[in-house]
């Protein structure tokens, strides 16, 4: 049996779901009251769902083992994009309280913007300033959201 990209992908996806489902069912079984169908405890529905999910995962994995699959291209992940978008959201979450929304927004746009290498730094700074200004006007001034523009 050859390991094609598609087979590996289906196996990985199926196994992941099987583990997730099994884990959820186990966690619900051990920590919750199950009850009877007539009088379900909080654990009943989660156990049923966990088992269902586990079976689905096993099914997906088994289907990948059982049949011949077409060749698929190796999926390309834009690591730079994923990493910088992740970083930008994390930065926003970390800075919005200590710095306020406007600086946090500025940092987010600056960081996320670097995900595309074609954007020039100056364009990015202008974009970050513009978007931070617009969000201040729209969300704090106009919509009156309970966020502080500047925390210092």
């Amino acid at each position: 049996m050859t390991v094609t990209v598609e087979r590996a992908r289906e196996l990985a996806g199926g196994t992941l779901l099987a583990l997730l489902g099994g884990g959820a069912a186990l966690k619900a079984l051990t920590s919750q009251h199950i009850g009877t169908p007539a009088n379900m405890g909080p654990g009943f529905f989660p156990v049923v769902l966990g088992v269902c999910l586990g079976l689905c995962g096993l099914g997906v994995a088994a289907a990948a083992l059982g049949r011949s699959l077409d060749q698929a291209a190796v999926p390309r992940v834009n690591v730079r994009a994923v990493a910088l978008v992740t970083l930008s959201v994390a930065l926003f979450a970390l800075t919005i309280r200590p710095l306020g929304m406007v600086p946090a927004a500025f940092l987010l746009v600056l960081t996320a913007g670097f995900a595309d290498p074609r954007t020039k730094p100056l364009t990015l700074v202008l974009l970050a300033g513009g978007l931070a200004g617009i969000s201040w006007l729209v969300f704090i001034v106009a919509l009156g959201m309970p966020l502080r523009a500047f925390a210092f």
């Binding site: 007539a38 997906v60 289907a63 049949r67 992740t86 970390l94 746009v109 969300f139 959201m145 966020l147």
Partner: protein, 506 residues
């Protein structure tokens, strides 16, 4: 009675604020529909938290306007660039883009707009006729009926979507499982919270929707190269179709809207599946099937009418039963829930002004859309040139601010990030994330109804067999599973499986 309601709708929709929300909705919708990389789903996810700050009728009118507007605008991108703005507009590329390359882009845009308006009208009329009756009928449903109807909705959404039904079903179950996180309503006990107090209210719909639809989409779209639109002359004179084109497109619109209306009421048919069926039907009945794919107006008119008729009828199960058929409907119901209104048949009796105001605002929205799309099309075409590198940082920013605005908690931001990354991984593993959101939104009511059913029947599962509506829904669900498994196996045998439509998540 009917006219009283309509009158109520008029008085509701024609208030200055609601007209304004309707206008803003369709304008925003057209804008994001036209822009490649943005669509109704991502925009409604982005707007959802802000609707919390609006009156409930205005919020719903605006979101529905975005849905219709994005659909009108989405075709523009397909026709002029040859790349669909969102999955539902994918079919427009087949004949619309060749028309644009032949210099008939104006005609294509005009036909698309008229077909959309026609389809929408059919859908809205059906909604007006059937929704009140269905919701009156649904008031008699007990928990057994609700449970089975929700199962039917989820099974349909899982099976009819893209990719294998098993994977769709897995996503539905994952969504249901996520919905069990938090405090159990019956006992007050904590489930799957792992000691985090922030999770006791459950996994929020907004962080999940924003993560799965906005962040995931951005992560997978960055770096894709832009394509510039085909140059077109777009004066009104260039847009008017010839007599032959009219003759070809009218019957196509009729057939398309009939098909779309039927499909729209079924859950899970979003993402443009019905439109491809409409296209195939049109090709089969045509006397000149060889012209399809080279710029046949029928190939544009039928799917567009189909798509929009489906939007109208998709509101029927969502508004009368509280069972959303696709992700956009799920988010519209989430907007209602944010405002403290539990979706279901009660909505129409306890808030008739909401339903009828929405209906009337659909008509107003449509008039605005035709005005925006035919004489003003030139403006939208210029917007096609906005580069994505300048747009996506804004999307990420509005995602984060939106999440913050609902609960004012940074925990929600981290959740959004987790779901964004999880969604990205799921897409890489070729799972469709749309069924997950449907599972998440129906998780609490489905569990509640199951518990209540079995409590009343004293644990006897036979109750589902003795109640005719529940039994019918259950059998329909089984039939869908059987049919989709069969179709999947045939597709496998034919050798070309699951290669289409996976690249975009809608």
């Amino acid at each position: 009675m009917f006219f009283d309601h309509l009158l109520l709708g008029f008085s509701e929709a024609f208030t200055l604020t609601n007209l304004w929300y309707c206008f803003i909705g369709v304008l925003l919708g057209t804008l994001v529909g036209v822009l490649p990389g943005l669509g109704a789903l991502i925009t409604i996810s982005l707007l959802l938290p802000f609707t919390y700050y609006l009156p409930v009728d205005g919020a719903l009118i605006m979101l529905a306007g975005v849905y219709f507007g994005a659909d009108f605008g989405g075709g523009t991108c397909s026709i002029l660039i040859g790349v669909p703005g969102h999955p539902a507009a994918a079919v427009d590329v087949l004949d619309g883009y060749p028309m644009a390359k032949q210099g008939r882009g104006g005609v294509a845009l005009f036909i698309k707009c008229i077909a959309s308006a026609w389809g929408s009208s059919v859908g809205i009329i059906l909604l007006m006729l059937f929704a009140p009756a269905l919701s009156a009928f649904a008031l008699k449903f007990g928990p057994a009926e609700y449970f089975m109807l929700m199962v039917l909705g989820l099974v349909a959404a899982a099976s009819v979507g893209r990719g294998s039904p098993l994977k769709g079903f897995a996503m539905v179950v994952l969504g249901l499982l996520l919905a069990t996180v938090g405090t159990d309503v019956n006992t007050g006990l904590q489930r799957f919270t792992f000691g985090m107090t922030e999770l006791s209210n459950g996994v929020g719909l907004i962080p999940v929707a924003m993560g799965l639809f906005a962040l995931t989409e951005v992560m997978s779209s960055i770096g894709k190269s832009a394509v510039s639109p085909v140059k077109q002359r777009l004066r009104l004179r260039d847009q008017l179709p010839s007599r032959a084109e009219w003759r070809a497109s009218w019957p196509a619109m009729l057939r398309g809207s009939g098909l779309g209306a039927a499909f729209g009421a079924l859950p899970g048919t979003s993402g443009g599946m019905a439109t491809f069926i409409a296209y195939a039907v049109e090709k089969r009945v045509s006397k000149t099937p060889e012209k399809f794919g080279t710029g046949a107006v029928e190939g544009l008119a039928a799917p567009e009418a189909c798509n929009n008729a489906g939007i109208g009828t998709a509101f029927i199960p969502s508004l009368t039963l509280g069972i959303p058929g696709d992700a956009v409907m799920a988010l519209l119901l989430a907007a209602l829930m944010l405002q403290g209104i539990q979706p279901g048949p009660m909505v129409m009796t306890s808030h008739p002004e909401l339903f009828w105001g929405l209906i009337v605002s659909f008509w107003i929205g449509m008039v605005i859309l035709v005005a925006l799309n035919i004489p003003l099309i030139g403006i939208w075409v210029r917007l096609l040139q906005i580069p994505y590198p300048l747009m996506f940082p804004g999307i990420v920013l509005f995602t984060c601010i939106g999440v913050m605005s609902v609960g004012n908690s940074t925990f929600d931001l981290w959740m959004t990030l987790v779901f964004g990354l999880a969604g990205f991984a799921l897409i890489l593993l070729r799972f469709d994330v749309v069924p997950l959101i449907l599972g998440l939104i129906l998780g609490a009511p489905i569990e509640e109804n199951l518990r209540r059913t079995l409590l009343l029947s004293d644990g006897d599962f036979g109750v589902f067999l003795t109640r005719p509506i529940a039994l019918t829904a259950g059998l329909a669900a089984l039939l869908i599973v059987a049919l989709s498994t069969f179709a999947q196996m045939r597709r496998k045998r034919a050798g070309h499986h699951a290669t289409v439509g996976h690249e975009d998540i809608g």
